[in-house]
Amino acid sequence: MPISVPETLLEVSGIEAGYGKIAVLHGIDMRIAPGEVVSLLGPNGAGKTTLLRAIAGLLPWTAGSVRFDGRDMRDAGPRESARAGLVHVIEGHRVFTQISVTDNLLLAAYDLPRRERAARIEEVLETFPEIAAKRHDKGGALSGGQQQMLAVAQGLIRRPRLLMLDEPSAGLSPVLVDRVLAVVSDLRAAGTAVLLVEQLIEKALAVSDRVYAMAQGRIVLEAKANEADLPHRLERAYFGQDVPTALHA
């Protein structure tokens, strides 16, 4: 049952996409309202990253449509999407290791007017004091967690209306995971919509309004984040069958 929302920021309908002959997404429907935090869960190989890439314009899709803020994104590449306020932080904190933190942020601000760049950089560095202290270090000198902060900061420089984060917690220590997810809560408070791909279900649910679950290229579950019995329903959705309740001890 679709959840009624006052307004739609992102509307994905019937997206099909893949790599070469391999079809990964089989007709995905998804809506995100302005300011809403949505988690996208699912086992490995379900197609979560592929979906994010398709929405961001990094991967052409073969059928279906993506509308962002009412605009058809069919021929929009990643640059146009980012300009429209649809920003994608890819997985694996892939910052540029050979140039400084500030330069990494400058590149993220490539399309912004020259005058505004410095101010925007200061603005996001205030959000991330731990990398502000290392602003002149090369990207490669940062720890994994700091690189992830930098990657998120690169996304925020554009003041996105929807930020898509692909496994921001992967490879981070629990403390850092909380730190990254706290950013998501801050964004929510500030009215920015977030689409969060996560492996850590409980932590993801804690910061989300709604949740989608994917398996084998399809959406298998859509629910409010605070609904009861969610973990159980997720297991069923992933494994395709019931799991004995004994294990929820």
Binding site: G20, A56, L58, G77, P78, R79, S81, A82, R83, V87, H88, I90, R94, V95, F96, T97, Q98, I99, D103, L106, L107, A108, Y110, D111, G140, Q154, R158
Partner: protein
């Protein structure tokens, strides 16, 4: 004698080094090694001789026009031979497409310019044939100017950093919203300017000759192989070293064995250290 060998070696080496950088600039933007690198060097000499020697334009005008022409050829390379094959699953099509384009450029020059080496005009007036001769100093100056220019570009400008970003991680750069295609075209234009500069500056040394393209393709590639793909510093040092080695061997054991020696060193280094002596820049973890 020694200074003369050293000087001519450095001069020739500077040309090899610059062609090596031309290869690298194109490679960094697209992961493509293009056979047009040497042809850009050849065109620098031929266009310079045509604009200044034949049409009688002032040197500075001829210089600017030559660089502009080579930049255009660089952009054409990107559009005709690189972009169409980048998306192909077949990884090595670029070897064929750039080889075809390089041959087209070379043959077109042979037919419309000359199949014989043509003289290149004197630019500054120092032509005594000795150590003060401009034919030695122009390539060296061009090489120095390129090193300084590239350093400024990469360290001081946003577009230079964008070049570095694309070279390091093309996908992340695209995801960040960098205009990857425009940057790639700009890189190819830059490669054209560097190749053209190499050819223009070495016009008096190598003459305006259509067959220089194939020669420079090989001798310009050696520094890339020795210095490591995409490593400009390695290419410059290897190129200068190669030039001095070749001139020294030329003088001591004769031209043929010098070529054999260069080829042998090239093969041995490739087989022993496929990454080059200086190593390729850090590759991103997969």
């Amino acid at each position: 004698m020694l200074p003369a060998i050293l000087l001519s070696g450095l001069a020739v080496g500077a040309v090899y080094a610059l062609i090596g950088v031309t290869y690298n600039v194109m490679f960094s933007a697209s992961r493509v090694m293009s056979f047009t690198a040497g042809q850009l060097g050849m065109l620098g000499g031929v266009l310079g001789a045509a604009f200044i020697g034949v049409l009688g334009l002032p040197s500075i005008v001829g210089f600017v026009l030559t660089l502009a022409g080579c930049a255009l050829v660089g952009v054409a390379t990107e559009i005709i031979a690189v972009r169409p094959v980048l998306k192909s699953l077949e990884q090595h099509l670029y070897v064929l497409s750039t080889l075809a384009l390089a041959l087209l450029i070379q043959q077109f020059t042979a037919i419309n310019w000359s199949t014989e080496p043509q003289p290149f005009p004197t630019l500054l007036g120092f032509r005594d044939g000795g150590v003060g001769d401009e034919k030695f100093w122009l390539p060296i100056a061009a090489c120095a100017a390129t090193v300084v220019g590239l350093e400024l570009l990469y360290r001081r400008t946003l577009i230079g950093r964008a070049f570095l970003a694309i070279a390091e991680d093309n996908f992340a750069a695209r995801a960040l919203g960098l205009p990857e295609r425009n940057l790639r075209m700009a890189s190819y234009a830059l490669a054209g300017v560097i190749g053209g500069l190499a050819g223009f500056a070495s016009g008096q040394l190598l003459l305006a000759f259509f067959a220089n393209g194939a020669m420079l393709n090989f001798y310009g590639f050696v520094p890339v192989a020795l210095g490591g793909l995409g490593n400009n510093r390695g290419a410059i040092i290897s190129g200068l070293g190669l030039g001095v080695f070749q001139q020294a061997a030329n003088f001591t054991v004769g031209g043929v064995f010098a070529s054999v020696a260069v080829f042998s060193v090239f093969i041995i280094v490739l087989l022993v250290a496929p990454q080059g002596l200086f190593g390729a820049p850090a590759q991103r973890r997969v």
